[in-house]
């Protein structure tokens, strides 16, 4: 009897030891940061997307990303052609052990194609027509695949951005058009069971390619704001505003590093607390994180 009690206790101690924290420094890291506020058509212009990108670029540098490894483009510089050049530049320098972050702030949209499938787009600057600067979910995935890093993080502050993340293997309990309520657990469990035996659908950014954190669901609008409801200055996209605060406020285990899950959890809880309870059900939105077993230290 004593033997079993002692071995049980030893086992629990051993388990704790095996899960103790080792050095979480993410090592060599690179980032491409794009923000477009000044689209060619006056009707499409945004207020703070370029500022978002500039602020995120500075944040990354202040958190240990070498200045040479952080490429920031805004407005007229942030074109599709330029993105491909920047991706190629990083692809030549990064290794499989590097951390790579792609950040985008600007317009996003969801369109239904003729076959009934939904496709999401982000819009980089185009000198003639904004629609020409669109990058679809599949296209962005192909572009990101050029980067050899195993650890990639994609941060999207745009409408409908949740549609960029692959919905495998996890079934999201938050509906794509979140209106304040979660999906039915039993129905989600049934969907998860069926999905286990289904083939993986290509098209969005799969969990094997990157951890994606999106400002809102595939069918949700996201916003930028001058002030919050308590009259605090925001002057950013709402998602980006909390992302910028994550290094000082999201470190749940106080290890000095912020992971994708810590950032996501913090941004989501702040949006629920400071925004969604003041907005109508049609206006609420909730950040999403892609499904997969990985959690990555981002800064």
């Amino acid at each position: 009897m004593k033997f079993f009690i002692l071995s049980f206790a030893a086992f629990i101690v051993l388990s704790s030891f095996l899960s103790c924290t080792l050095d979480p420094d993410p090592g060599e890291r690179y980032a491409i940061v794009y923000g477009v506020a000044r689209y060619i058509e006056p009707a499409n212009q945004l207020e703070y997307s370029a500022d978002d990108a500039l602020a995120v670029g500075e944040l990354l540098k202040s958190r240990g990303y070498p200045a040479d490894n952080v490429i920031v483009r805004t407005d007229t510089e942030a074109t599709k052609a330029q993105l491909e050049i920047d991706i190629d530049t990083i692809a030549q320098r990064a290794s499989s052990d590097s951390l790579f972050v792609f950040y985008y702030s600007g317009h996003g949209v969801q369109w239904k194609s003729l076959d009934g499938t939904d496709h999401e787009y982000i819009f980089l600057y185009h000198p003639v027509r904004t629609l020409e600067g669109g990058i679809g979910d599949s296209e962005l995935m192909q572009i990101l695949r050029k980067i050899p890093s195993k650890r990639k993080v994609v941060l999207l502050d745009s409408c409908n951005s949740g549609g960029f993340m692959g919905d495998f293997p996890g079934v999201d309990l938050i509906p794509a058009d979140y209106q304040g309520t979660r999906a039915d657990y039993l129905r989600a469990a049934q969907k998860a069971f069926v999905k286990y035996f289904a083939n993986v659908e290509e098209g969005d950014i799969p969990y094997t390619e990157a951890v994606v954190i999106a400002a809102g669901g595939a069918q949700e609008l996201t916003f930028e704001a001058d002030f919050d409801f308590k009259k605090n200055t925001i002057a950013h996209g709402i998602f980006t505003y909390y992302l910028l605060k994550a290094p000082t406020s999201a470190d749940r285990n106080n290890d000095g590093f912020i992971t994708t899950l810590e950032a996501y959890r913090y941004i989501r809880s702040q949006i629920e607390k400071d925004w969604n309870r003041y907005l109508s059900t049609e206006e609420v939105f909730l950040p999403r994180i892609s499904g997969g077993p990985l959690d990555l230290v981002i800064f």
Binding site: F8, L18, S19, P24, G170, V171, Y207, L261, I289, L296
Partner: protein
């Protein structure tokens, strides 16, 4: 209404099973595990886990079948190298079979003592593969089965399903209370997760088993 009818079914089952030499038992157990995970392209990492399980056992003298419902959780791994595997939690169900391999019955539990001279006792360990039906003693054996898991990554609302296969060694310690025994198990479980290339766990569990049917008296069976 459902509860009443289910309870009635259970009562009928319990009252009927002695005729078939079946014991009906329930167990409540707690398990600690060390999980080993690896995603394609990444290294192995360990994560501590735990679960609590409620089982219904149908026990024949030489084998048993159990249905199990439980809740589980696993801590996130360390973040060494700037990455880790997410923690998760959820609910699971298992179906298993088990076989006693040997038993130690110091006071003739389950075996007639008639004909043994006073002062003598049964051997410390018998070759019996049957369970003692009363008194103290132990039974050790092995088993195996399959499970179905629904887990949610911690800090997210992402739910995933995966099946498992597992085997275990068990050690039942029969107490002075005829209906109660303490059960230790050493389970090894392989999870067929689509998000991980390799995922398995080793553990230890401790539980209490309560037998509803009236165990046979000394010399019975």
């Amino acid at each position: 209404m459902h509860i009443i009818s289910n309870f009635a079914l259970f009562a009928i089952l319990v009252s009927a099973v002695p005729a078939f030499s079946i014991d009906v038992s329930h167990s409540l157990s707690s398990r600690g595990t060390v999980g080993i995970s690896r995603m394609e392209g990444f290294d192995f990492k360990t994560q501590g886990g735990n679960s609590i399980e409620l089982a219904t056992l149908l026990e024949w003298p030489s084998f048993a079948i159990s249905g199990i419902l439980g809740m589980h959780g696993a801590e996130a791994t360390n973040l060494g190298g700037g990455w880790g595997y997410r923690g998760y939690e959820g609910a699971h169900a298992r179906l298993q079979m088990e076989f006693p391999l040997f038993s130690g019955i110091p006071s003739a539990g389950g075996v007639s003592t008639e004909g043994i001279p006073a002062g003598d006792s049964m051997p410390e360990e018998t070759e019996s593969r049957e369970r003692p039906r009363s008194g103290s003693g132990f039974v050790a054996g092995w088993g195996g089965g399959g499970g179905a898991f629904f887990s949610r990554y911690r800090e997210t609302e992402l739910l995933l399903f995966y099946p498992s296969a597992y085997t275990f060694l068990f050690f039942d310690w029969y107490t002075a209370f005829p209906r109660v025994r303490i059960r230790y198990t050493v389970p090894f479980e392989w999870y067929f997760r689509k998000d991980l290339a390799v995922s398995f766990s080793l553990g230890l569990s401790i539980g209490v088993v309560y037998t509803w049917t009236q165990p046979a008296g000394k010399g019975g069976k």
